[in-house]
């Protein structure tokens, strides 16, 4: 019931604060859309040249909105010259795909599309490719958009929950609460649930917008995407409120962004971890967003099941549990119960 009091109060405060609500619900959509547009701007019809036995394939490819050319002879030199996106050489035994890869987004798309198309006919799924530029590890929006979703959930929930509890500290209302019978764990629980409700709504909005409006790839279950993001929000909530006890003002809370948020971005898969020094990789493993992105990318990009991301989810849960306990401990500064 005391927890209820806090939850009701938080909802009332948030409903009055339209700007914060907009920041929470609309800002992530805006930034996601912008990034989507920037990364996807060269969305011209992919051009593909086919050499060899091609009659059947040409039709299929045209249906899939490829700009198809059939020729006898072709080469990578000609590809560069004509800026041809792909070259498929069909032999009796095997197919050979060469991608220009000047735009990794598109190259990946072509490869995926072809892979899917050919998988239904021939034996194994997918198709390997040679690259004119770069290689297959070149990152693309599709691969890190899942992580972006997780990042925005984390960032905005962290900031808003942290600043709210901070306001409660600086305005003296938190200390005032210590003169009422509310217990420390009740304060933290009230905050978690109160803001959790808004974080939940935010998560749903971001996930649905990304998948249904921006059409970000998702192969796995949308429920797993939401579950993962809820855990991310929980970690962000508890970390935000915890760090707010080390900030004396909203400005100081902002200073945690380059300290706590930005470094985590580097370990979310935008930059390949394999290439990093060993100690740097270990550093990434103490960051919640590392596990968050791993899980999201797994579900959305690779179609992982619950079992396959269970470890990541467990780690996120442990992070949240740790931060929640530390939150309750941090309130000991006021009183012992």
């Amino acid at each position: 019931m005391r927890i209820n009091a806090l939850i009701i109060r938080i909802i009332r405060q948030m409903r009055r604060d339209k700007r914060t609500l907009a920041l929470l619900f609309l800002a992530p959509l805006l930034v996601l859309t912008l990034m989507y547009l920037i990364f996807d701007s060269s969305e011209a019809e992919p051009t593909i040249t086919i050499t060899g036995d091609s009659t059947q394939l040409t039709e299929q490819l045209e249906q899939a909105e490829f700009d198809v050319t059939s020729v006898e002879q072709f080469s990578t030199e000609e590809m560069k010259e004509k800026n041809e996106h792909a070259w498929l050489n069909v032999d009796k035994q095997k197919m050979e795909l060469t991608l220009l890869n000047d735009d990794p987004t598109q190259a990946k798309k072509i490869q995926m599309q072809l892979g899917n198309m050919l998988a239904t006919e021939k034996n194994g799924p997918g198709i390997s490719a040679n690259y004119v530029y770069g290689d297959k590890d070149t990152k693309i929006f599709d691969t890190f958009s899942p992580m972006l979703i997780g990042f925005f959930v984390f960032f905005f929930v962290f900031l808003i929950a942290g600043i709210s509890l901070l306001k409660e500290r600086t305005s003296g209302t938190l200390e005032r609460l210590m003169a009422t019978p509310i217990k420390r764990y009740e304060i933290i629980a009230g905050y978690l649930v109160g803001f959790g409700i808004f974080a939940f709504i935010q998560t749903i909005i971001i996930v649905f917008y990304s998948i249904y409006v921006l059409d970000i790839v998702h192969i796995g279950s949308i429920w797993l995407v939401i579950l993962t993001n809820i855990l991310i929000a929980l970690v962000a909530l508890s970390l935000g409120t915890l760090l707010s006890s080390f900030a004396a003002s909203e400005f100081q809370m902002m200073q945690f962004i380059p300290l706590v948020i930005v470094p985590q971005i580097f370990f979310t898969g935008i930059f390949p971890m394999e290439g990093m020094a060993g100690w740097l990789q270990s550093l990434g493993k103490v960051m919640p967003l590392f596990y968050a992105s791993d899980a999201l990318k797994g579900v959305m990009y690779k179609g992982f099941t619950f079992q396959e991301i269970a470890f990541d989810l467990l780690i996120l849960l442990l992070f949240a549990a740790l931060f929640i306990v530390l939150n309750i401990v941090a309130l000991r500064k006021y009183r012992s119960f």
Binding site: A5, D17, S171, E175, A179, T180
Partner: protein, 240 residues
């Protein structure tokens, strides 16, 4: 006389600064007790130790039947902080409602108490306004109303009348006296305004981390051969 509050050898320092030094004090039940002293002498600190919001370094404190800190005490305490701790983005009623819920008042009682305490501090008309639109005096009054919301046995008010106009001040004092007389409440107020001291039945003078004098205002004036209470304070403090 039974004591509502007993403080024995309480010591508290912040970092290296000793604020309360083996302070002992007894506050009787059912009276209006004034804790007096200049700004910065440690009145607020003492009050927070008594409630258990702040940990003391040494000493024993008993309030009603509880050894502080004890969470069972808190439902019996109505506290008004020196600086208004209100949710400025909520209305007066929502603030009262929040605290009423923290004391687990049932819905019906909650409504009735909100109306009653708002009446005491004459805020009925602005209950639907956000605190951001309140004046300083209105915020003080709302803080007092919050202290009364759960009808506590002991009221601890930290400089309750600062920033309140004389007319309202008088009506608040009347209400405090009525609460004491009719409901038998124990009321502890701190102040650095000496004319308020004369309305208290018992007073204690806090200085340099000790209680330097206690007694009724008249007794103290007699003892220090003073005509005004201010003089008592100066003489007790050893300044002429």
């Amino acid at each position: 006389m039974t004591m509502a509050i007993t403080v024995h050898n309480a010591t508290k320092s912040f970092y290296n600064k000793l604020v309360l030094n083996k302070l002992s004090l007894e506050i009787p039940k059912g009276e209006i007790f004034g804790l007096l002293g200049p700004s910065g002498c440690g009145k607020t600190t003492l009050i927070k130790l008594i409630i258990g919001m702040l940990k003391r370094d040494e000493g024993d404190i008993t309030v009603l039947t509880y050894n502080i800190p004890d969470q069972r005490l808190l439902p019996n305490i109505g506290y008004m902080a020196q600086s208004d701790a209100l949710y400025t983005d909520l209305t007066g009623e929502q603030n009262l409602d929040f605290f009423a819920r923290l004391y687990k008042l049932p819905k019906k009682e909650r409504k009735a108490r909100i109306q009653y305490v708002a009446g005491v501090v004459e805020l009925e008309d602005v209950l639907q306004k956000r605190i951001a639109e309140y004046s300083g005096g209105m915020m003080r009054r709302l803080s007092l109303a919050i202290a009364l919301i759960h009808d506590p046995e002991v009221l601890i008010l930290d400089e309750p009348t600062v920033g309140i106009d004389p007319v309202l001040k008088r009506s608040i004092w009347r209400e405090l006296e009525r609460l004491k007389r009719e409901d038998g409440k124990t009321i502890v107020i701190t102040t650095h305004v000496m004319d308020e001291a004369e309305r208290c039945e018992q007073t204690a003078l806090l200085r340099n981390g000790h209680i330097i004098a206690t007694g009724s205002p008249d007794k103290l004036k007699e003892k220090y051969e003073a005509t005004r209470f201010e003089e008592v304070f100066l003489r007790a403090g050893g300044e002429n």
